[in-house]
């Protein structure tokens, strides 16, 4: 985490990804011109409120955008190959084998009618040409790797017999079974209690360092970000508003929204009597203003007396190497000093 600036090889690069939904209420982009890259063996965290487009970004990368959504622009480059150009068949070979995903609710992401072992075996059936016996050995090995006690017996358990933490371990075992290069973890600990949460995060980190897997961690929990991430992209209303390495983000957050998020986190020993909340709510994506999407909730804009925020949409501008912000406070002549 500390050596955030060194150069790893870029494994996954996302350029201008835009996912549009067209509903009766209107058309909107759930993911709007999102670009970021994930380096080998490192963790990128997508942070934002509910509805900010984090999960939809992950689903777009996996090619799993639910209907009527559609990826309408951009590139998802895995080793230079654009996943968005791939056929359904090619994409199936990628999913589960090169990029895999774990979900928020481990107990509902496991099929209640099948034993745990059968479900992990499914991944091998789809991606590996192994005999049944080898499969069984690998399933046991996968369960052992995620710290499942007595894996030979747990193999035969049904999902309802597992606790939430154990179920999430099974999900991780399943996701990492084929040693993917990228693991997308969509709020992997939100449904778990705090002690289990830290165990699961610790497990992901251990497995990541032993296998050099890259992780895209989706969360709204800044504590999880601080603990896990190397790089962070903060999302708001479908677009990235700030991206930098984790230390800079916590030391020197620039975007008023990021600052607001930081202010709303309780800190032990903090003298503040109340937590600061960001006023207002995330705007309705079907009725976005032409200006900055955060403008209506932004205190800093009023303090700085900026009017451009309501009339012009800011671009994501690199204010220093590796730190980009989408805010008029920091771009062009409007830089406030």
């Amino acid at each position: 985490m500390s050596e955030a600036h060194d150069d790893g090889r870029v494994l996954l690069e996302i350029k201008g990804l835009t996912t549009a939904f067209s509903l009766a209420e209107g058309d909107f982009n759930a993911v709007d011109n999102v670009s970021f890259s994930v380096k080998e063996g490192r963790t990128l965290s997508l942070v934002g409120e509910s509805g900010s487009g984090k999960s939809m970004t992950a689903l777009s990368v996996m090619g799993l955008v639910p209907s009527p959504g559609k990826v309408v622009a951009g590139e998802v480059l895995l080793d230079g190959r654009n996943l968005l150009d791939m056929s359904a068949r090619e994409m199936r070979k990628i999913r589960g084998a090169e990029i895999s995903m774990i979900f928020q609710q481990p107990t509902s992401a496991l099929n209640p009618t099948y034993r745990v072992g059968t479900q992990i075996r499914e991944v091998f059936k789809l991606h590996r040409d192994w005999t049944r016996q080898v499969e069984t050995e690998k399933v046991i090995a996968a369960l052992r790797a995620v710290g499942m006690p007595d894996p030979e017996a747990r193999l035969r358990a049904y999902p309802h017999e597992l606790s939430g933490g154990m179920a999430q371990r099974v999900m991780i075992a399943m996701a990492l079974a084929c040693e993917p290069r990228i693991l997308i973890a969509d709020e992997p600990t939100t449904a778990l209690d705090v002690t289990i949460q830290s165990q699961i995060l610790e497990l992901i980190r251990e497995l990541q360092s032993s296998s050099d897997t890259s992780v895209i961690l989706i969360t709204h929990d800044l504590g999880v970000v601080a603990e896990m991430a190397d790089e962070v992209a903060v999302m708001y209303a479908g677009e990235i508003v700030e991206t930098t390495d984790v230390e800079t983000l916590f030391d020197e957050p620039l975007h008023p929204y990021t600052k607001g998020l930081m202010g709303s986190v309780p800190v032990l020993g903090d003298p503040r009597p109340r937590l600061e909340a960001i006023p207002g709510t995330v705007p309705n994506l079907t009725e976005l203003s032409v200006g900055c999407r955060f403008a209506s909730r932004c205190q800093a804009r009023i303090e700085a007396g900026l009017t451009v925020c309501q009339t012009h949409h800011p671009e994501l501008v690199e204010v220093r190497p590796g730190h980009a912000v989408r805010c008029w406070l920091y771009s062009g002549q409007e830089v406030a000093e």
Binding site: S67, A97, M101, F103, S108, A109, T113, E122, Y158, M174
Partner: protein, 287 residues
Amino acid sequence: MFAGREVGTLRSMFTTPSALVGVVVLATVVVCAIFADVISPVDPAQQHLLYRLSPPGTVSEDGVTFVLGTDGLGRDVLSGIIHGSRVSLIVAVTAVGLGMLIGVALGLVSGYSGGWLDTVIMRAVDVTIVLPFMLMALVLRLALGPGLGSIVIALGISGWATHARLVRGEVLSLRNKEYVLASVANGAPHGFIMLRRILPHVLASAIVLASLQVGVTIVAEASLTFLGLGVPPEIPSWGQMLANGRDYMTRAWWVTTFSGLAIVLTVLALNLIGDWLRDYRDPRLER
């Protein structure tokens, strides 16, 4: 674990009196159908012309007891009912099986794929359901010509639509379950997801529906036969006996009464079992 669940099933069955009654009655009918040749006292086709329309309990000179009497041609009613259970069960079960096969397959595809295919299949369901079941079976049977096979097909095709609609509804809710999404995220192809991930969940309710449909289909087969469009007259069947007995109803009540009773009891048993199955499957109902 699975064995444990089956023991639970049995226990629940024995503690639900109506289910037990249903199972006992149905088991009796099934045993009659399988061992008809052994059980029935005389050949159901044999005509005892001297004993035409004998009331129940009549004993003939050569020592044959007509427990449930004889019909207009002197045929033993009890033997006819025992042999008739074969046709009723075979026709109903295969017809419902056929309907279930078509309905589940189309419902699965319809719910899973959505879009225009869903629209086409569901409009076909609407058209099928709008037509009265009997009318549809009647028309199909006339179009297909005589024979047991065409009755099965006619009844089966008439019954597919309810299965398709039921299954589609369930698939729609299952399709968006996280474990289905997780399966897609693992790289599973559509066929695999439909057959291995969704079908097992849908099958239970399809079986419940089928158990209730078998009853309806037995009545439908008997009705077709009663109208002379069903089972050929040379095969003993309940519908045929009802039709034959109709002419003598005022003189010999036993012919129609007992064959009608056979239909009523069998259908009742199937409904009791179907109800119990549905309740047993529904975790919201306390058992």
